[in-house]
Symmetry: C2
Subunit: 233 residues, 2 copies
């Protein structure tokens, strides 16, 4: 078996909290439109709008804000007051300055692994927002490279691990999304390590693969270094 | 004098039309709010909102759309109808699928230069939107690398030209923005070639430098290859 030289990390909900802030904003959105729709209906219409708009906006908070505005207009038949839209815009902007809370075991895991491996941050979302969060996290120096991408497909990983490492065959991707982090990295020929987060956006859900040797599920990042040690053996 | 090995190109309004679509959308925005404000007042309030929001949204169409919405709410004291906001959202989304019209001399200039130089596309804006435009332009294969960045400072150019070429000292940046393309590339130690476009966003304006040997202004990209030939001599 080839030796692992390169480790890719997802950012949102792998290194720091993210979905938490989307849920808070969605709860606020739901309150703002409480006179017009039940929370469940609103949530399902918003998710529809988000999925439909991915092809236009890509991933990230600005697209999410525009999808909230669109949903507010749709669900009220255009009757939503301008002030309410203003509050939605403000809620979106607040998300763009939310604090960056790194998750447990992240700092010490990256600090230890950067001594022995090439570390690459591979994340999607708004370019500007991801750069801000990386800067505020204080984790930037642990990474040899940062790739902010518009989508995460097998070819994304093939390209990133060829550019910054020794190809996907000697690389592992670590993240909380089976759909975006784990499965496409394995399809590209790499290892895929799944670290579930209690909050995960519906879009990112997928089935865990069955008997796939390069797939591992761990509970927290504390298990990552022992896993990598075992792979050496 | 060191030899030029690497050429960076800006994208919007250097390789293809861009500001044109912003102006069309702004005219549409102005019509939608004609009952509330004069076009000049609206334009100036929108520009204020855009500049203020750069720190939150960065550059690009999604941020521009959110700034239009915010301006519509402000200028009507929150009275703008939801339907009108819906039209603004739709106008922003249309921009994200506008056709990519490459400018004169672009194709043959890139085709010729890629044989002798390392070509790097360096652009800001929405990641997803810039990738779409590059794909639709058919120019992607002429570039050795693409950098979609959140801002263009001297250190942006120092980093990009070190990564993809032989450092800024042996690199030239070509673009229609003095503020973002030309001046910071010269400050980083490179050549800066200014190709003005008849439409330029207010934010990108700056004074032309006086007696700076590495600065050149050309009228169209047709003059770029002769300029590069002269530099060799």
């Amino acid at each position: 078996m080839s030796t692992l030289t390169t480790i890719g990390f997802d950012a949102d909900d792998t290194l720091w909290e993210n979905e938490h802030f989307f849920r808070l904003t969605e709860a606020h959105f739901s309150e703002l439109l409480a006179d017009y729709a039940e929370p469940e209906i609103l949530a399902s219409r918003l998710l529809e709008a988000e999925k439909r708009n991915l092809a236009h906006y890509g991933f990230g908070i600005k697209g999410f804000t525009l999808s909230m505005i669109e949903t507010a207009i749709e669900i009220t038949d255009g009757k939503v007051p301008g002030d309410t839209i203003g509050r939605i815009v403000a809620a979106g902007r607040e998300m763009l300055s939310h604090p960056v809370n790194t998750l447990p075991h992240v700092h010490e895991t990256l600090e230890a692994l950067t001594a022995s491996h090439t570390l690459v941050l591979i994340t999607k979302g708004d370019l500007f927002d991801q750069e801000r969060k990386l800067a505020q996290s204080g984790l930037g120096d642990f990474f040899n490279a940062v790739e902010i991408v518009s989508d995460k497909s097998p070819s994304t990983y093939a390209t990133a691990f060829a550019r910054h490492g020794d190809g996907p065959d000697r690389a592992m991707m670590v993240g909380n999304s089976l759909r975006s982090d784990v499965l496409p990295a394995i399809e590209a020929g790499g290892w895929g390590t799944y670290v579930p987060h209690e909050l995960t956006w519906d879009y990112e859900r997928a089935e865990e693969p069955g008997n796939v040797p390069r797939f591992t599920k761990i509970e927290t990042l504390a298990e990552l270094r022992p896993l990598i040690e075992r792979l050496k053996g």
